[in-house]
Amino acid sequence: MFKNTINVALPKGRLGDSVYRLFEKAGYGCPSMAESDRKLIIECPESGVRYFLVKPSDVAVYVERGAADVGVAGGDVITEYRPDVYELLDLGIGKCRMAVAGKKNWSDDTSRILRVATKYPNVARSYYVGKGREIEVIKLNGSIELAPILGISDVIVDIVETGRTLAENGLCVYEEIFPVSARLIANKVSYKFKSAGISKLTGCLTEELP
């Protein structure tokens, strides 16, 4: 292992593809990235980086625990898990919003506890605590839109990009909680001991921001 190599945790999937393109434009491209889509660790000695491809929701874990020096995580994941990391840059890609959505024509019965289905229980709780509203959180891991359709929840708290999936399932956005985009995060100890490499990477990425 090269001590000065910067270990980068990239999210797999659609967001990861656009994040990698940004890194490539910033001078951190890696020819072996295209060679295999099954490899989880990709070495790029020519750029001084090593990429780890991980599930988007796990990026913050790898960075907080120091396996990766930096990583790219969504603002939704950072707000939900509150990892103890530096949040160095808003990359301005993967833009969407955290929102409360429900069935069209739904009306809130404030005399009852609100049932909220979500992948983001901490975000949902803190939002409704701020509003002084008592809620029951129903933690789901996917297809959140089904919950109000099948009647197990009144609303959902989830990220919404275009709103097409919601509309196709007869749902609509009722409240926006906060805007979401991809963020460059860094491990606090790596930031001290690999400061030159991380500062250079941050500077190069800043120049390429949309």
Binding site: E64, A67, Y86, E87, D90, N187, V189, K192, S195
Partner: protein, 350 residues
């Protein structure tokens, strides 16, 4: 514990006295000072007289509460376990901690002696270490100048801790108003580089604090620890409790800070004390994690059998002990034990 990490020896060598305390404390102490704690989740129970008690989540509060307030400086160190909620797992953990507290009418020398001891503590863990310093008085003056109050001030403090410049900008209607705060969040490095950058941005109200920080740095250089020090304003603590110098220690190879401390005169005031106070805690779980498992668990393994005389085993043990080696006797070769050498006494003739 690694023999090298003799924190108690270090603190005793500078005249600090061991402060031993009860594992329990009345819950009200923590309920009244929730923001001082790393996590406000505390394990509570009722004692036989009905009082609500807590398993100690923090040591400093207990020492500060018990500290006599007669004007004389008190120097204590501790080796205790605290009980805290681990944010990532959501479970309570028992965490070994050591640290020290210096309480009384503090002058520059006593403040710097504490900081120097923090650096020496880091050096016990690793040669590759550094201590980040900031000053809550300077941060507070920059917040005042930006007009940040109440909830916005708390949010700004969390953004500063995360070096989150885009978050800081989002707090203002005109993003340029966050320029000073953003620059403060970016400052990270040695004093020679950081001080001119700080001088260029701080409001006049913080000038005295910056002069003091500079004087403290010069004194710390004389104490021989200047090369380990960096300025970084992401090191912040709750302003209701902390004032002045705040610091955090890092060692290469450990993913989190292994030491945290600062000056907390405001807490003393809340507890009705006139004394000033400064101290730090070393998170031994983080420090020990970094040191990893030793290559050998024991120096010598002595394996004996039915045909081995007890005298032969005693002789082998005594030989190891006489040369200062650790020894384990066993009837069989134990699995999973890493022994530097093995002496077989179980091979019988014929």
């Amino acid at each position: 514990m690694d023999r090298k990490m003799d924190f108690g020896g270090l603190y005793r060598s500078m005249g600090y006295r061991l402060f031993r305390m009860n594992r329990f404390e009345e819950y009200s102490l923590y309920a009244e000072n929730k923001n001082f704690l790393v996590s406000d989740r505390v394990i509570t129970f009722n004692d036989p007289s009905g009082r609500v008690m807590a398993l100690k989540p923090d040591v400093t509060l207990s020492i500060a509460k018990s500290c006599p307030d007669g004007g004389e400086t008190q120097k204590y160190y501790y080796e205790e376990n605290v009980f805290r909620l681990d944010q990532s797992s959501g479970e309570y953990r028992e965490i070994p901690q050591t640290g020290l507290e210096c309480m009384g009418s503090l002058d520059r020398y006593s403040v710097c002696e504490t900081v120097a001891l923090a650096v020496r503590s880091l050096e016990l863990i690793s040669d590759e270490c550094l201590l980040d310093l900031s000053d809550m008085g300077i941060a507070a003056a920059v917040f005042d100048q930006a007009g940040l109050e109440g909830k916005a001030r708390e949010t700004a403090l969390s953004f500063l801790a995360a070096k989150n410049a885009h978050g800081l900008r989002s707090l203002f209607d005109v993003p340029e108003k966050a320029d000073t705060l953003c620059e403060l969040s970016r400052i990270s490095g040695g004093f020679d580089e950081a001080l001119p950058r700080l001088k260029a941005i701080i409001p006049p109200a913080a000038a005295v604090r910056l002069e003091e920080l500079e004087a403290q740095y010069r004194l710390l250089c004389k104490m021989g620890v200047g090369g380990r020090l960096c300025v970084d304003f992401s090191v912040v603590n709750d302003m209701h409790y902390y004032n002045g110098l705040t610091f955090r220690g890092f060692v290469s190879g450990s993913p989190r800070a292994v030491l945290s401390g600062g000056r907390y005169d405001n807490l003393m005031k809340k507890l009705g004390k006139k004394a000033g106070a400064i101290g730090f805690a070393v998170y031994l779980d983080e420090a020990l994690d970094r040191s990893g498992a030793p290559e050998w668990e024991i120096d010598r393994l002595v394996v004996y059998g039915d045909c081995t005389s007890e005298e032969a085993v005693i002789k082998a043990v005594n030989e190891a002990a006489a040369s200062g080696k650790s020894v384990r006797t066993s009837r069989e070769v134990p699995t999973g034990i890493r022994a530097k050498e093995t002496v077989r006494l179980d091979k019988c003739e014929g």
